[in-house]
């Protein structure tokens, strides 16, 4: 059978791939067949009956639904006969019969397929004289989604999305016949993390966006194709703005990145952009108080003080902290500023130099995607090591579910928590934090056993790991380890992904080495990927916001590379590797006298750092908000957000994408990061001469070979990937040694950290509609442990160890293993860093707040 099929629609021939549906074949001829239930990314159900067309059959032309019938060779379709038109009219009359026609107060009005099709295909008059059916109007089915059952035309798109993509059918059809409604189960709101997509695909105004409710009419908005800035997937979005304000974010199709889906954080959490708490003017500390200042004053002050510190203590007494949340341009210029203008390699960002990352990220997100129409994913197995996509990268979570359910892919998960994706029955290895090295050696050993032929020399390196080690030290079932290793060894093309939680510090290097061994043994090294979690985690690394590497991963000791950049930038570049993020903050006030912090908030991470920052001679903070860190600064420089200035970001698969300026507050004096740094450089005697942000992008493309050719114009609105091969290290087997674990006595708990989606940072917290979704300052325990401790959900507990102490509310969750406590990062009021020293695994004790016990005893 040929792969191509030729058919005739309305007398015109068209050739399309076999399996194409008639409705799509017609679209190829630009013939519009009206649809409501049909959606190109969902399975057909043929329930709305709008797309009935005549298809020639043995018994003459038959009305059939174009959305469900695949093309056949020689098929003859007519979409323009009297019968078809009459049917379309009648169907629209049925659809509108009980529709409230409240378009003037409906958010969808103006971009509503029902309106459009009524105008194009509808009868123009209603014969209904009976009362319309009443149903429930505008009520919340989640904190962010509003449902109007009267407007609903029961097309099932929302239900199908949640079933087919999210695998969480939290919406259903309730009742029957004319009373059929879309609804949630009473008291069980939609909590799927990408649930908001159902708003985008609703063909009527039944599902509307609570955050954007009544904020605009569709014909008033400006639409800017952009990307999301919440995580490293880099989902393509559209920013809708009106009167200088960001009003709404919706998904935009990019079949290499996010299909057309985005997560709820990306969709709804954008109130911060136009929030009143945004900094709008520079602040200068005078008499101990931060007071408004002019840009001239502020920049001159920073220049003078930096020069003074450098003269007094040397360039290496100055440090710069960049941000994986900010654009390539901002980060590139900050490191240029530190290296060229200040003359130090003290430049890093959170999860920068201290992380054992592998450049390049995932070979291609498309390899794990299973679009509605298209082949199965290129990778047949995905091994997640210390990554929880459901909380960290929700669209990857969506892709993986789809790959497993529809694409035949297998999933292996190694994680201290029983993360959501473990429900897919792949081997799940719940390891004890800190025991990664042993686990990886065990996996490599079993992988070797499952591989035929000569054994590489790594065999001796892992040979001493026994099942007893796996069981006792890591707490994993050796059978599961064997199953996972065998699966990896026998799969044709496996993707191995690890993230920052597993990649930090000493343990991190061991994890990278162990994964490298495993990937080499199983033949998947080229698909071993580190994924950073922030929107520009990969860009910040690529562009040298690291104490050890210049842009493009040339080591700072590399004289040739140094001279290449020096030739571009001017001056001599420092040769000694700088201090890492943690080292700079630990040394703040001692070896480090001045810090320039751009878009980071270390004061909220660890109490000790907050104290150190106060000891600095100069603290400059370039920020959007008066954060805990900014509040301690000598100078606060107000910056513009990703939505307010053109910038590029590099996602976890090396795709460099544009985020153009969509809005700007005309009353704010905040300035783009690049401009602030450019001005500062010139006050310190270095004329960079960037005319605009595109000039910075061009500079990057010319100076950094990795980014060659990636100019603003070239990127287009779907982005471009660079070739990672030149910067991927050559693989080599390394011995992986298990570091000693903290003593596990029965009273202590293993501390599990990690990132959660609704963390409550500024970018989330300020969207008040989502307040109830925030994770909160909590310590999550297994119910059995809580019972032992005599605490219940909501009770306060003290979590402490030698490093510090936190008082948190108890939350119960069976996904946390017994004997562990889960305290995610970036929760306001819960600086889990207080309990950590470096990134090593920590043991903590958990005890109920004494007062409560005493109070109970007194009762």
């Amino acid at each position: 059978m040929s792969d191509q099929v030729t058919l005739t629609i309305d007398g015109r021939q068209v050739t399309v791939p076999a399996g194409t549906l008639v409705v799509d074949a017609a679209a190829a001829l630009r013939i519009e067949i009206p649809v409501f239930c049909s959606h190109p990314k969902l399975d057909p159900v043929a329930c709305c009956r709008m797309c009935l067309v005549e298809i020639e059959g043995p018994r003459g032309p038959m009305l059939q639904t174009a959305c469900s019938v695949p093309v056949r060779e020689g098929m003859v379709v007519r979409t323009d006969t009297e019968q078809v038109k009459a049917t379309q009219e009648a169907n629209l009359a049925f659809i509108l019969l009980n529709h409230p026609l409240d378009c003037p107060i409906c958010d969808k009005g103006g971009e509503c397929p029902l309106q459009d099709q009524t105008m194009r295909f509808g009868p123009g008059i209603s014969q209904l004289v009976e009362p319309k059916r009443r149903k429930q109007k505008h009520y919340l089915i989640s904190d962010t989604i509003v449902l109007d059952q009267e407007r609903c035309v029961v097309c099932w798109r929302c239900i199908r999305y949640l079933e087919e993509w999210e695998d969480k059918p939290q919406l259903g059809l309730f009742e029957r016949g004319g009373e059929t409604i879309i609804d949630i189960q009473d008291g069980k709101p939609v909590d799927a993390k990408t649930g908001g997509n159902i708003i985008d695909i609703c063909p009527v105004g039944a599902l509307t966006n609570r955050v954007a409710r009544f904020a605009f009419r569709p014909w008033e908005i400006e639409r800017t194709p952009s990307i999301c800035n919440h995580c490293s997937i880099g989902c393509n979005v559209r920013l809708d703005s009106r009167t200088h304000k960001l009003r709404r974010i919706i998904g935009r199709e990019n079949m290499a990145v996010n299909d057309q889906w985005i997560c709820d954080k990306g969709r709804f959490a954008h109130a911060w952009v136009n929030h009143e708490e945004r900094l709008t003017t520079p602040l200068l500390r005078k008499n101990g108080q931060l007071v408004p200042a002019t840009w001239g004053e502020a920049v001159q002050y920073v220049a003078d003080r930096l020069r003074a510190v450098k003269q007094q203590h040397g360039a290496d007494a100055v440090g710069g902290i960049g941000s994986a949340k900010l654009s390539n341009e901002a980060n590139y210029l900050l490191q240029r500023f530190m290296r060229q203008v200040v003359g130090t390699n003290n430049i890093d960002h959170r999860d920068g130099g201290a992380v054992a990352a592998l450049p390049g990220g995932i070979p291609a997100l498309a390899d794990v995607m299973k679009p509605q129409y298209g082949p199965n994913p290129k990778v047949d197995t995905i091994f997640l090591f210390g990554v929880d996509p459901s909380e960290e990268l929700p669209i990857l979570d969506l892709h993986l579910k789809r790959a497993v359910r529809r694409g035949g892919a297998k999933l292996i998960i190694a994680h201290p928590r029983q993360v959501e994706l473990t429900r897919y029955n792949g081997p799940y290895l719940r390891y004890r934090p800190g025991s990664e090295a042993t686990l990886l050696n065990g996996l490599t050993k079993y992988a070797l056993a499952a591989t035929e032929g000569d054994k590489p020399k790594v065999e001796q390196m892992v040979g001493d790991v026994t099942d007893a080690h796996l069981a006792d030290l890591c707490g994993v079932d050796p059978d599961a380890v064997q199953a996972a290793a065998t699966l990896l060894a026998t799969s044709k093309s496996a993707l191995i992904v690890y993230g920052p939680m597993a990649a930090r510090g000493e343990t991190g290097q061991a994890v990278l080495n162990g994964l490298t061994n495993l990937a080499m043994v199983t033949g998947h090294y080229e698909r071993l990927a580190y994924v950073g979690l922030e929107a520009n985690s990969h860009g910040a690394r690529d562009l040298g916001v690291l104490p050890t590497h210049l842009p493009g991963y040339a080591a700072v000791e590399d004289a040739e590379a140094r001279s290449r950049f020096a030739a571009k930038w001017g001056g001599d570049l420092p040769t000694r590797p700088g201090l890492s993020y943690k080292a700079m903050l630990d040394a703040a006030g001692s070896a480090i006298k001045a810090l320039y912090i751009m878009g980071a908030n270390p004061a909220s991470e660890r109490p000790v750092w907050a104290e150190n920052l106060e000891k600095l001679d100069l603290l400059v903070v370039q920020e959007l908000f008066l954060t805990e860190t900014a509040a301690k600064a000598h100078v606060v420089l107000p910056a513009l957000s990703w939505a307010e200035v053109d910038g590029t970001f590099t996602n976890l698969e090396r795709r460099v994408q544009r985020a153009p300026r969509a809005v700007r507050d005309p009353h704010s004096k905040a300035a783009p990061d690049w401009m602030i740094l450019d001005h500062l450089a010139s006050r310190l005697g270095s004329r960079w001469g960037y005319a605009d942000e595109h000039a910075v992008t061009r500079d990057i493309s010319e100076s950094v070979p990795l980014y060659a050719g990636l100019t603003w114009e070239a990127l287009g609105d779907q982005g471009l990937q660079y070739d990672a091969a030149p910067v991927r290290p050559r693989p080599a087997y390394r011995k992986v040694v298990q570091a000693p674990l903290p003593a596990a006595d029965s009273a202590s708990f293993a501390l599990v950290t990690g990132t959660v989606l609704y963390d409550g940072g500024d970018l989330f917290r300020l969207t008040r509609q989502m307040a109830n979704m925030a994770f909160g300052a909590t310590a999550v325990l297994h119910p059995a442990d809580a019972e032992k401790l005599g605490v219940e959900a909501g009770d306060p507990v003290v979590v402490s160890n030698a490093h510090g102490e936190l008082t948190l509310q108890v939350k119960l969750d069976v996904q946390v293993p017994p004997g562990a406590v889960w305290i995610p990062e970036s929760l306001p009021g819960a600086p889990v860093g207080a309990l950590l020293n470096g990134s090593d695994a920590a043991a903590v004790s958990v005890r109920p707040v004494v007062e409560r016990q005493a109070a109970l005893a007194a009762d």
Partner: protein
Amino acid sequence: MMLSEAVRAEIRSWMDLYPAGRQRSAILPALYVIQREFGYCPVEAQNELAEMLDLEPAEVGAVVGFYNMFHEEPKGEYHIEVCTNVPCMLRGAGKCMHHLEEKLGIHHGEKTADGKYALDHMECLGSCGTAPMVSVTEQKTGKIRYFEELDSAEDVAAMLQVLESGNAFVTTERWTPEGDPERTGKAAGPYRFGGMEPRYLLGQVGKADSHTLAVYERDGGYATAKRVLHEMEPAAVVEQVKASGIRGRGGAGFPTGMKWGFLAPAFPRYLVVNADESEPGTFKDRMIMEYDPHQLIEGIILSAFAIQAETAFIYIRGEYYFAYTRLVDAIKEAKAKGYLGKGIFGTEKNLEIIVHRGAGAYECGEETALLTSLEGYRGHPRMKPPFPAVEGLYAKPTIVNNVESICNVTHVMRYGVEWYRTFGTEKSPGMRIFCLSGNVKRPGLYELPHAVPLRELIYTYGGGPEDDRAAIKAVVPGGLSMKLLTAEQLDTPLDYEAVQAAGSLLGSAGVIVIDERASMIEVARRTLSFYREESCGKCTPCREGTGWLEEILLRIERGGGRVKDLEIMEHITRFIAGKSFCPFGDAAVWGLQSNLAKFRNEFIRHIEQTNPEEIGPIIPIRPIYRPDAGSASVLRDSTVVPVGESPLNRDHVIGD
């Protein structure tokens, strides 16, 4: 936790009944357990069930909402439901409801103050030959019993007395005013039947203990199955059934053997017996299951052997509680004898029969909707192709056959193809159980060969018009969904081809006789009330159109009609028929189309009498909505009271 350990254990035992990985199928039985425990299906219990079945709570809620027999609030110790569908309506269901309302002191849709009785109207309960009738559900046991032939106030009083006695559910066999062992000394037994001599499909009915294996076997039962399983190849059985020309008795009349021939060459395969007899005017399968269940079981053994299935399901409508218990008992008996289970009749063949109760949804009689329902979902039809024979139950090759079709297989295999073809016509061979109801003297089941003239059925067997002064006006020949025949068409032979030539279809052979006393407007409106109620809601034309038609008919009935409405209705029906997802759409409007075509004058006369000025209805002005800023994070916005069903639909359901 709301569900006790005992309840959970019971639910788990239901889950174990279904093939591995298909535990979702246990959702309906589990909900029956929950409803028996609580008197309704509380949301919390639904959520706990969802957890047991590894589903999202909304998936359980969606199922509860679909099926009529599950309630979201308690319905009283005894839930009395009066059948008000057309066959019952013709025989005084309105009066019956009226008597009940008087006696109980409540309106339908209400509950007595002491919570003892709840009264509702109900669509066809499959008891058309014994109308008017009610079904009563005893909450604490979940048992359902039919109380039939409630012609007078005295009958209704007698029935309530039985309920008051507390012994009403010692048996669930049907009750009639005469058939009440405690009062009259004799049980009701099978309802009226007759026809040719000897009878085959109804051959055992009427004998003492006809439902037992002993009696069935004494009269030659199971001998055929034993012989066939020992001596024949499956393919040979398929060939014989093909040659016999048996046509499906559920309504569509598709040749059974041909259907079997479509099976995809994959295993496991399933046989699903469609016992969801819900077409108004049809009550034949009920009789077979209640009084001759072994006939069906033997048919299943033969059919499953032929199609090489090792698991058979009987999807029986939820209201048929007594038939359900008879089937379960019969299967137990057969299994004990080694006729079912592993190595049946000493051969290598295995067969398990699982009886699965529906829960009140007409749509589940459609074969794909039945399979969806059996899998534990809302009973929506699904797309064809793939046809069930290729991808049916659990996406495996599946044959769905009606009870009576399966029973025919037994007789074909017992007496041979040639014998079978001596009955009926070339294209409609064999005998048939005709269900006669409505305005005749002797409604009941009559087993006759195909092609018996309609007149002979009505006059010779049915005894002619119920009231000698009222002539027959119209006849529905094949269940309520089929087009009407007029009095001039009484000589139509009842076979597929002849009825089709007369402009209707033989359908399920449910013959409903309508005499002059009945209003065709009421017949039309009752018909549409039924289809509006039973539309599954999947596709637009049927979901919206049936309700619209009912509203128009209600308005005409109540004196607000316009002649123009007749044209509007004709227009609507044209765009439901053939445009909807499944044949339900056609079924919903064929009756009305023929009614409007053949009795148009009666409609016009009614409109002229009740609304001579043709005053149009007042179009209600919609309330002004206030914009909602959505500020409060509460899940239900209390500013709009949920609107239930239109009062129009409910207040006028019942006639006089």
